[in-house]
């Protein structure tokens, strides 16, 4: 006997993500989900971002890894609330993990929530976390064809940050080609170039963040 089902496999995650989205809207929390390969500089970008903010800023960070509290320790130095999500052997964060990690935090005290996903360009693409925008990072020590090899995450993200640009003189990375590849996968995508170690290009990122936050809260 055949029974029609026609349901999304991840509908449980989508339901939980919808709950998160409703909570974010109710408390006026702007949430971004940072995704990249391991080692592209998500944690470094967040370190520089938190340093740039006044101590009165109401920001918080959830950071995901398979193991260790290392990233949470790095990020906590800036003095803002940080929580590590250790996923064990799971290669992505899901909406349930985010919901549980938020327990104990008063959302009314958070204006911007950064979620640093597990380093992975594939699996996090499938899991909605209730965020306003996904942001994908690519570093110049990776290949400029990354957007063509992993198109789904570049198509799903609103902003692409090309990081480690201070290393451009030392690595065979064709920056123009990388940007062309990003735009091939996602026409019109905003691209920002940064060096988190040399503190370059952060203004473009912070400006995007402020503008996007204003747009999210106006909606």
């Amino acid at each position: 006997m055949r029974v029609a089902v026609e349901e999304k496999v991840l509908s449980e995650n989508d339901k939980l993500a919808a709950v998160l989205r409703t909570r974010f809207r109710a408390h006026r929390v702007f949430c971004v989900n940072l995704i990249s390969s391991p080692g592209s500089g998500k944690t470094a970008l967040l370190e520089r971002t938190l340093e740039a903010l006044p101590q009165t800023a109401k920001v918080a960070v959830l950071t995901g890894d398979l193991q260790t509290e290392n990233d949470a320790r790095r990020l906590a130095r800036a003095g803002f609330p940080v929580k590590q999500i250790t996923t064990g052997d799971t290669c992505h964060l899901d909406a349930d993990m985010v919901g549980k990690a938020l327990a104990g935090w008063e959302l009314g005290n958070i204006e911007t929530l950064f979620i640093e996903n597990v380093g992975n360009l594939v699996c996090p693409t499938s899991y909605d976390l209730g965020e306003h925008a996904k942001i994908v990072l690519l570093s110049v020590t990776e290949g400029e064809d990354k957007p063509l090899k992993y198109p789904a995450i570049f198509a799903a993200s609103e902003l692409c940050i090309i990081n480690k640009i201070d290393l451009l003189p030392y690595v065979p990375f064709a920056l123009d080609q990388a940007i062309a590849n990003v735009l091939k996968v996602h026409p019109g995508m905003k691209v920002v170039q940064t060096s988190c170690t040399k503190r370059e290009g952060l203004d473009g990122w912070l400006a995007w963040l402020a503008e996007r936050r204003a747009r999210a809260l106006a909606a």
């Binding site: 006997m1 055949r2 029974v3 029609a4 089902v5 026609e6 349901e7 999304k8 496999v9 991840l10 509908s11 449980e12 799971t90 290669c91 992505h92 594939v122 699996c123 693409t125 499938s126 957007p147 063509l148 198109p151 789904a152 198509a155 091939k184 996968v185 026409p187 019109g188």
Partner: protein, 118 residues
């Protein structure tokens, strides 16, 4: 490698659908896995087989359809299957489009063993 978690979710969904239809062993699951869903059908099949081994679901068949990515031009509403990831509209050349197919990850149907005759 999130296919195992997705395999688990598929089996749970199939089980729930079976219970809604009065129970019975699930013998086949229909899946729709779009080409940009982020899921590799081979890895998923392997995960489902591994999870079913030694359970009443062992031997479960899968029927997988894999829709290609399809876009609808925002300017002239032409629907087209893009070549690779170059997404310009073949009719008007616009680069602005919406993805209307290719990201699916759906359970489409289940087949249940016929109940024993009363």
């Amino acid at each position: 490698m999130h296919e195992l978690a997705i395999a688990q979710a598929i089996l749970e969904r199939a089980q729930a659908a079976s219970e809604q239809s009065g129970g019975g062993r699930v013998t086949k699951i229909g899946l729709r896995i779009g080409e940009i869903s982020g899921v590799v059908p081979d890895a998923l099949t392997f995960g489902i087989e591994a999870l079913c081994k030694g359970t009443p679901l062992e031997g479960l068949a899968l029927e997988i359809e894999q829709p290609r990515r399809k876009l609808r031009c925002s300017a002239c509403a032409t629907e087209f299957v893009p070549e690779g990831f170059a997404s310009a509209c073949p009719v008007c050349g616009s680069l602005s489009s919406d993805c209307i197919a290719g990201s699916e990850l759906d359970v489409t149907f289940i087949e249940l063993e016929d109940p024993p005759c009363a």
